[in-house]
């Protein structure tokens, strides 16, 4: 933050003007426009942001299918009969807390504390495993009550939407485990910081999708 004292930065704290910084600071023009190319950290994270938005758009198709088919129960069991809201509340608490501990891992990464980073990543992963366990339990209970995905269009859409989110959580856990091992071996190298940052984005995005699922699928489905 030393270049805050530079005259141009005082007039233009966000550096909106690409020409305002001539000769000041490390970002004076070096081609690719006035300010030079963005750092690899920014381009990688931005690309991953675009991926996440595409993923959310894919989820929106599953949400649309569920919304259209949610009444098509083919005289089979309805959401009101099937959903256990205590389990859903527990799942929500687990995923929300894992998002929070993921944030604590990010803060520990900023401090370059290996022990704290690994600890909070481990807590995040264990909370994710507990979430996934409850979801598999729910699916197994429903399948044993003749309410599997082939029972009605409503249940097909339900298993597709919630199962897709669960698959994302499962893949995220694999990613997390791989990254904890890599971080242990490689330390806080730039590429590890990029991967940790992308994982944080992914995990928070999963939490946002779960907010939509527990509201639209479970709470609305179970409301009288």
């Amino acid at each position: 933050m030393s270049d805050i004292t530079a005259g141009s930065a005082r007039r233009d704290p966000y550096r909106l003007s690409r020409t305002g910084g001539h000769g000041h600071g490390p970002l004076s023009a070096t081609g690719h426009g006035q300010g030079g190319p963005a750092s690899k950290f920014v381009t990688v994270a931005y690309g991953f942001w675009i991926f996440l938005l595409s993923d959310i758009i894919m989820f929106s198709a599953f949400f649309a299918a569920f919304a259209v088919l949610s009444k098509a129960t083919a005289s089979g069991p309805t959401g009101k009969e099937l959903f256990e809201l205590t389990r859903v509340a527990a799942q929500t608490g687990l995923l929300l807390t894992s998002s929070f501990t993921g944030g604590l891992a990010t803060l520990a990464t900023h401090r370059r504390s290996m022990a704290a980073t690994q600890f909070w990543l481990l807590v995040t992963g264990l909370l994710g495993v507990a979430f996934l366990f409850l979801e598999v339990q729910e699916f197994a209970a429903m399948a044993s009550e003749q309410a599997g995905p082939s029972r009605s269009a409503f249940l097909s859409a339900f298993f597709a939407l919630v199962g897709c989110h669960g698959t994302h959580v499962g893949l995220g856990l694999l990613w997390l485990g791989t990254m904890m091992a890599q971080l242990w071996v490689k330390g806080f190298r730039p590429e590890m910081l990029r991967r940790l940052h992308c994982f944080g984005l992914f995990w928070h995005a999963l939490d946002i999708i779960w907010v939509a699922i527990f509201t639209l699928v479970y709470l609305l489905g179970a409301s009288p």
Binding site: P26, T30, F41, A45, Y46, F100, L193, L216
Partner: protein, 136 residues
């Protein structure tokens, strides 16, 4: 070579924030540990409010769906601001614009599907008893 090449990735690019990058300084509301704690607390409150709105008779029944949607959008906003560090600052313009485009497509897909399918079923001719008997 040049100054750009000698920079490490850890150094901040001062014009654009990476999505999710914490550029907020300590004294601001959404920064650091206090920001995560505040976001976590708000998210828990909004979750409890959602479950209460759906399960108790506190809200007039036909309005429950609107209450739930509002609470869900509020909670997504809390996640975006406190966990994903999305701000209205100029260094975040690219991230916000990408998000706005994503939200537009999501709204088109969901609202458009529900709208079209609702009208389709409304305009469908009612089946006669004979036709219903032919259904698989």
């Amino acid at each position: 070579m040049s100054e750009i090449d000698s920079r490490t990735d850890e150094e901040l690019d001062r014009r654009d924030s990476a999505p999710g990058e914490e550029r907020i300084t300590e004294h601001e509301l959404a920064g650091g540990l206090s920001g995560y704690l505040l976001g976590f607390g708000l998210a828990i409150l909004l979750t409890i409010a959602s479950f209460l709105a759906a399960q108790t008779g506190l809200i007039y029944q036909p309005a429950v769906i609107s209450a739930l949607v509002v609470l869900a959008i509020a909670q997504m906003g809390v996640h975006l601001v406190f966990f994903l560090h999305l701000t209205t600052g100029p260094d975040n313009t690219n991230n916000v614009l990408a998000l706005a485009f994503g939200v537009l497509i999501v709204a088109l897909v969901v609202i458009g599907s529900v709208w079209i399918m609702a009208h389709l079923s409304l305009n469908m001719a009612a089946m006669s008893a004979h036709q219903a008997g032919m259904m698989p």
